[in-house]
């Protein structure tokens, strides 16, 4: 089944990105296709490669990058929400790309299921 994901919150402040990550991973392991993960609101902060969490904690953006590399997942950051928060190409973690909000609506249209994680 084709699944699309919307992540509304940034890393650490809320569990939303962690839940979305675990859900995405489980969906892939079950053989589903994750069409795209779209990052909106503060969720765009997941794409900030400058984040340096302490070494005994998870690195949320790096974890998305690795999952995307491993399974070819399209990680899209909303351009309007990103610019508002200073997330630009030069600080974008690998595997993320910046595009328009229309890419979220596309998920809703093209995916069999759309799942939202937020606060």
């Amino acid at each position: 089944m084709k699944i699309g994901i919307l992540v509304n919150e940034g890393p650490f402040n809320h569990q939303a990105s962690d839940s979305a990550y675990q859900f995405t991973k489980a969906a892939i392991e079950k053989g589903h296709q994750v069409l795209r993960v779209f990052f909106y609101y503060d969720g765009v902060n997941n794409a900030n490669k400058l984040a340096e969490p302490q070494s005994d904690d998870r690195n949320v953006s790096k974890r998305w990058t690795e999952l995307a590399k491993q399974h070819r997942i399209d990680l899209v950051v909303c351009i309007a929400a990103a610019l508002r928060r200073g997330i630009k190409e030069d600080i974008l973690a690998d595997g993320f790309r910046i595009s328009g909000l229309g890419q979220l609506i596309e998920i809703g249209i093209a995916a069999d299921r759309t799942v939202v994680f937020g606060d």
Binding site: L6, N8, L35, R36, Y40, Y41, D42, A68, K69, R72, D74, V76, A80, A81, G95, R97, G100, L101, G102, Q103, L104, I105, E106, I107, G108, I109, A110, T114, V116, G118
Partner: protein, 143 residues
């Protein structure tokens, strides 16, 4: 690998029922403002659209918002575009897209509001009616 995803997903000829569910008050957090942008973009995709205001979300469309002293952007006039989209959809015979702009009755009454308090025309639905509309949706987006 980024190059592999420059394309867009296939959306031609598909029409789904989209609901945008607003449960949060404006200004205290950004959700109301950014979900508004979501609704505006989605209009271009000509999908059936239901914009719902419930719980504190009903405060988003309250008349008389004046943000000048807070220094924040007053985005309440933009709700007028929702109403225009709805009217366009109803008037255009070539486009059979259905729009709903809904306020949940229980939420409105709990906050001492009436339809006259809102900047746009709304359909007032009780929880049972809204539940029925919700069950008809393919995609529900929230913030």
């Amino acid at each position: 690998m980024e190059d592999e995803f420059q394309g867009t997903l296939e959306t031609e000829g598909v029409r789904k029922n989209f609901m945008f569910l607003n449960r949060k008050a404006p200004y205290g957090s950004i959700y109301a403002q950014e979900i508004q942008e979501m609704v505006l973009i989605s209009a271009a995709f000509e999908q059936n659209t239901a914009v719902v205001f419930m719980d504190d979300g009903v405060y988003q469309i309250k008349k008389g918002q004046d943000t000048s002293a807070t220094g924040m952007k007053n985005f309440s006039p933009t709700y007028g575009i929702f109403q225009m989209e709805k009217e366009d959809a109803e008037e255009d015979e070539d486009v059979d897209v259905v729009w709903h702009i809904v306020v949940e009755k229980e939420s409105m009454e709990a906050r001492g509001l009436t339809p006259e308090d809102f900047v746009i025309d709304v359909e007032v639905m009780d929880a049972a009616e809204l539940q029925k509309l919700m069950a008809e949706q393919d995609v529900i987006l929230t913030g």
